[in-house]
Subunit: 118 residues, 2 copies
DNA sequence: GAAACCTTGACACGACGTTGGTAAGGTTGG
DNA sequence: CCAACCTTACCAACGTCGTGTCAAGGTTTC
């Protein structure tokens, strides 16, 4: 039964109830619902809500921006298009350079991981 | 000498001069500068500007959102934090799960690449 | 040296995003 | 059964985004 209702969750996370609903609409946190439709926040969600605030504050990022990051994770076509644009490849995903691209992306992730471990 | 000045670039890309400066402020396209500080757009930038318009239109994405994507690519700390939040890992980048994370990321890129080739 | 460019900076304005409040109505628990 | 909660939906205030325009000043070209 360790699930808080929206006002209690607001209390312990620092978000307002209004914002908790907004965060949900942004596609960032899905809480489960009671039979009657009440939002119920478990410890997992509460923790994510807290770290979300830290994340936004620490890097001066907005909910909409993180919402876009979420979109990037869910829409692979979009992610592919964005990646292609940033790499400035002439956007023809059907030749040998694709392999180069993948290799580059993986090296980049390696570097990113290294950075995260510092 | 194949470099256009800002008004000429605006002409051939469909952006307004004002928007070209805005795009630059968003961190999306850096043009080189003449000794006097005039922006000079080479063929590469012109092409990127055109594909940028297509990208934004096709996926209904805003400049600010893509600006955030750009930030994600330049600020590794931010990218790592965002990744960590989305994976809902308890944010301790110093144990075995890091290896899992990397593997997951690479598999994801593989899927992304597959999607791009369809 | 004047016309036609370029620069940065500011003000402006409509559309929309963010955040709060409130209203109308359903749910829960003592 | 009533107080205290929850839901969605709407109105309002304020900020940001995207865009134009203008001003004050430097540059290029003829």
């Amino acid at each position: 039964m360790d699930a808080l209702t929206i006002n209690e969750a607001a209390e312990t996370t620092g978000w307002s109830p209004r914002m908790l609903r907004y965060v949900e609409r942004m596609g960032l946190i899905e809480s489960r619902r009671s039979p009657a439709g009440y939002r119920l926040y478990g410890p997992e969600e509460l923790q994510r809500l807290r770290t979300l605030r830290e994340l936004l504050a620490e890097f001066d990022v907005g909910l909409a921006e993180l919402g876009f990051a979420s979109r990037l994770r869910r829409e692979e076509q979009l992610a592919a298009a964005v990646d292609a644009w940033f790499e400035a490849e002439p956007a023809r995903p059907d030749d040998v350079e694709a392999a180069d691209w993948l290799r580059f992306e993986q090296e980049k992730h390696q570097r990113l991981l290294d950075a995260a471990l510092t």
